[in-house]
Symmetry: C2
Subunit: 347 residues, 2 copies
């Protein structure tokens, strides 16, 4: 099995180093032979080649069995809305080129972190949500541009039945292996893409009579996620809504630094933290590497079918937390100073 490591920008570099170290260790322990390669993407790729996703990287991606990815982005582009070349273009192009239409974001709270969230523990306890975010359609990939002498900007959101169906199916199937509840989130009272979305989900439902299906408007869902997270089991939603809701839902897990994601579809899967490049803390050694470590666990499970190995990683994370070790984002007033790790130690 060949794994491509794509650290990307900012803390992406620091955290994937730890994620890879864990893969190396697991292979050793369970007697697997993984080979590794590395490639550039994002701001670092723009600096080196002018292209946020160089052909060489894409080629290496296609030739790998799985990709451990960090994050891309740089404040420089955020502060210049007129920049023509941007790190995120590389990310979006990767998703499209590799056909990664399903982004799985499990939101699971480690019991030890009940105190790290801004939400009350009694509201949180027992929450376990699996998001399916559609990842290659919507307003992310429609035509966009300027008109009227650069005085008007537009973005086109688009979904085909086919696109909605394949992600909805994945979500229905996953619900079967879990709590048997599916919540489809849309804005069907306003958007035509959402009305198509709802039609397709409604049409699929009879094929899954064992699954209880609910439809929520995205505004109500954004509220309900905080008010009563236990109400959700599997959630399926469009690209943009998924982006917003999963970041919000990270608060259920205590910190964004704990959340891994898997992007899968037609071929190679990509595994990455849901957090970004976080240049404000880059190089300080304070980034929480657990999202990358848990991404490695997802990789072993989903792309390689190595369940036991994957669970070994999750148990190790659990033990680390039980032993009281914390990075700053999940530490609180009661954490003793000698248990606050920097990234290297956590690895």
């Amino acid at each position: 099995k060949h794994i491509l490591i794509v650290p990307g920008d900012g803390i992406g570099q620091e955290v994937t180093e730890v994620g890879k170290a864990v893969l190396v260790k697991i292979a050793e322990k369970f007697g697997h032979e993984f080979t590794y390669d590395e490639a550039l993407m994002g701001h670092v790729a723009i600096e080196a080649t002018g292209n946020p996703l160089p052909d060489e990287t894409l080629e290496k991606m296609r030739n790998s069995d799985a990709i451990l990815f960090g994050a891309v982005g740089h404040p420089k582009y955020d502060n210049d809305p007129t920049a023509k070349v941007r790190p995120e273009q590389g990310l979006l192009k990767m998703r499209k080129e590799l056909g990664l239409y399903a982004n799985l974001r499990p939101i699971k709270l480690f019991d030890e972190l009940l105190g790290a969230s801004s939400i009350r523990p009694e509201i949180l306890k027992g929450s376990d949500i699996l998001f399916f975010r559609e990842l290659t359609g919507d307003i992310y990939f429609g035509e966009k541009g300027r008109k009227n002498d650069n005085n008007t900007a537009y973005d086109i959101a688009e979904y085909s039945r086919y696109e909605v169906k394949r992600i909805a199916r994945k979500a229905f199937e996953a619900a079967r292996t879990r709590g048997k509840r599916l919540c489809s989130v849309d804005k069907a009272n306003v958007l035509e893409t959402s009305r198509l979305w709802r039609e397709v989900v409604q049409a699929l439902a009879p094929e899954y009579p064992d699954i209880t299906v609910e439809h929520q408007f995205v505004d109500a869902a954004a509220m309900m996620l905080i008010k009563d997270p236990k109400r959700f089991d599997v959630v399926v939603t469009a690209n943009l809504f998924g982006d917003i809701l999963t970041d919000e839902a990270s608060q259920i897990a205590g910190s964004m630094g704990m959340l891994a994601s898997a992007s899968v579809g037609d071929s190679t899967g990509v595994y990455e933290p849901i957090h970004g490049s976080a240049h404000d803390i880059t190089g300080k050694g304070v980034a929480n590497p657990l999202a990358s470590v848990l991404s490695a666990a997802l990789l072993l499970d989903i792309s390689f079918g190595l369940k036991e190995e994957s669970e070994a990683i999750i148990s190790a994370v659990d033990k680390l937390l039980k032993d009281g070790f914390r990075t700053r984002d999940i530490a609180d007033a009661t954490t003793p100073a000698d248990k606050i790790l920097n990234t290297q130690q956590a690895g």
Copy 2:
């Protein structure tokens, strides 16, 4: 001064009744002469006339000095994504026809309700956010439809510089009268409309050197609102992002049932709860009418410049809460049964 009451659907009917009763009382107490009229909108208007916003209603709206509005919507349309006539069309048409481009949503926590939220009291305490949601542009109002034999749906998001500028200006001006911090929320790393948005806000900033401006991506903002709500003072954002973020932020105030909003622009202002028609609790007398009562307070303040009268209402709400009265949405285990009000009593 002439006030038009538009109850709309579901609990809209119950809560505006209380809101109006408060206006009548205040006028009596402060010696004002308000006249009232009523008009249909939403599902009830469709049932009566086939049109969610009948011409007669629009005419009455134009001829009023302010509008106290309830909510529109009905599950019937939500379950049928192919319905051609929908209550929400009336709402959107009203916003467009009356030029209500600025939707103000103050998120303020009454201290007595610190326990009603799912967020920890120590995170919440002192939160006070004023949202400016753009209300007549974005993906709500662009062209939308189907193509490819009804197999693809699309929605076009659009913003002009002019539209962004006028709402951003209102937000900058408001920040001046408050904490002098403005957070502009967009998705400029992906959307062209957001890049235009950011350009315009950046270009305005030098005119307000006393205001500290920050730009956040909508996903990060959705997370940060829960993690650290005190970080925000004035927030300005596009129509769709504002819809999602303000519903989410309702959890900061304990319940959606506490939140009022003002939609203003070129002429008559519209004042309404941010909650919807909530057919699941309609007719049970359990709806929280305080959002409508607080909408009446906003009406007096913003449309009529009656600050003292407006504050009298807010004090009365505060006293009601201090006296321990609660509707169910803001009650908790410690609320004695005889202090749990139904809608009529609360009025």
